[in-house]
Symmetry: C2
Subunit: 272 residues, 2 copies
């Protein structure tokens, strides 16, 4: 297994607090020591950092902790290899260009027989099931739309493709086209939204406490999604198997499996 | 204008010495202060670092100076913007996946009317002429070969496409498919090969001197290619306009414009 971390916000936001917890799970408070990566969107592209080594002992991860990169969409991953050797080629998140935008994908879980899915236009560089699944999704999207579709049409297409992969095994996934952060829950994902009035939070994996009211403005909305809760004093909401979330500017929309597009539902931040 | 730096070696090699000179030209000893990037190959993929800010004052460039990443193929670029605003999207080197390998491209010069060249399969994320040229090359290669061709066939195809772009203006370029480093001289590029017996070298842009005999083994072969010489006490060879070099494991082959593939010539390291 691996762990995922994603963020969607309506203003460029510093993810160091959440990433600090994930990074420690890469070989210290968690067993995911076979590589790590993080991609920060900036316009239609992203800057990404990858290493096929444990994040908990990484000088580069430490650098990112000391030098914030603010972004509105972030996808990060720490890896515990099951399929595919430990190498840079097999280190998530993976990325491809489609319709003049950089797409980013990270996955945890196993997908039985995924490599039998035919590819077109995109090919894996490494040997993971995950990258094969990503390339298959990209090829199917390219075949379905001539150019970048409206977000609502893309939402439905991503949900449909995710459902096909979900049928093959465990498909916990984060994906972005630079506009939207998509999340599919195969088995385990949870999220929370931080917005005014802001409170404080303390990490589970280390003794770091932040008072968000000191770091934000009243208009800020930030949603964080992760395999497991990252803080011990906030209310994380679990997703159900098969759920797809779309996150834009921190706002969450839930697509239930099999439901029509009209059945999507905007989620208000939990008060608990 | 911008400046380019490339390296091809037969063993994973530390490029910090050469990159230190290039990085200073990004806003200190040179005017190329509009962004910088560097990609280090590892197998079929590369890890790349980009910033739309001056490399001479970059904490990330300083980090890379203190934390070596050894690689057999490296492509780096410092930018002085002419076409396309200063942004991450417009920061070289650009990369795309084709035939299951990550390709990397960096360019300096201007190409008149390049955006009229039709694209297929690959689209620019940013607004530079350079990325359009790269996407056009990738689309043409994809159309010409079903799968990754032998290096000799790819060499000729890259030379042909480079000649077409050369006709539009100034096309100084570095390109790699993870096996070969290609260089095209539009106006200005020079190179040198370091191999046994190794000597010493001193940077032009700062007071850093290296004794390569202390850093290498007798079998090491390292070729460095750059817009302008980086050291003051080594023999750099200028390329002629229209020349294409292919570099594999540090060994250089020269493809003269218009010549048949059989006319390529293996170059011995200069003794001067």
């Amino acid at each position: 297994m691996c762990e995922l971390l994603g963020m969607s916000a309506n203003v460029p936001t510093d993810i160091r607090f959440s990433f600090a917890a994930l990074a420690r799970r890469g070989g210290e408070t968690g067993p995911h020591a076979d590589g790590w990566g993080i991609g920060f969107y900036d316009g239609r592209t992203s800057r990404a950092f990858h290493e096929p080594e444990p994040s908990a002992r990484s000088e580069l991860a430490k650098f990112l902790r000391n030098n914030p990169i603010k972004s509105r969409i972030v996808i990060a991953h720490v890896r515990k290899a099951n399929r595919g050797r430990v190498s840079l080629e097999n280190t998530h998140p993976f990325s491809r260009e489609l319709w003049g935008r950089r797409w980013t994908f990270a996955h945890n879980g196993q997908l039985k027989g995924v490599k039998r899915l035919p590819l077109a236009g995109f090919a894996p560089v490494g040997s993971t099931d995950s990258e094969h699944a990503f390339c298959w999704m990209m090829g199917r999207l390219q075949a379905r739309f001539q150019a970048l579709p409206k977000p609502s049409a893309l939402d439905r297409a991503v949900a449909d493709l995710s459902a096909e992969l979900h049928a093959l095994g465990v498909f916990n996934m984060l994906l972005s086209d630079s506009r939207t952060l998509y999340a599919h829950c195969g088995k385990r994902l949870c999220y929370l939204t931080r917005c005014a009035p802001f409170g404080t939070a303390t990490l589970i994996d280390e003794d770091w406490r932040v008072d968000f009211s000191q770091e934000t403005t009243e208009q800020d909305v930030v949603t964080v999604i992760a395999t497991q809760a990252l803080t011990r004093d906030e209310c994380w909401t679990d997703l159900a198997r098969g759920d797809v979330l779309t996150l834009r500017d921190g706002a969450i929309r839930l697509l239930k499996p099999g439901a029509a597009a009209a059945a999507t539902r905007l989620i208000s931040p939990a008060a608990c």
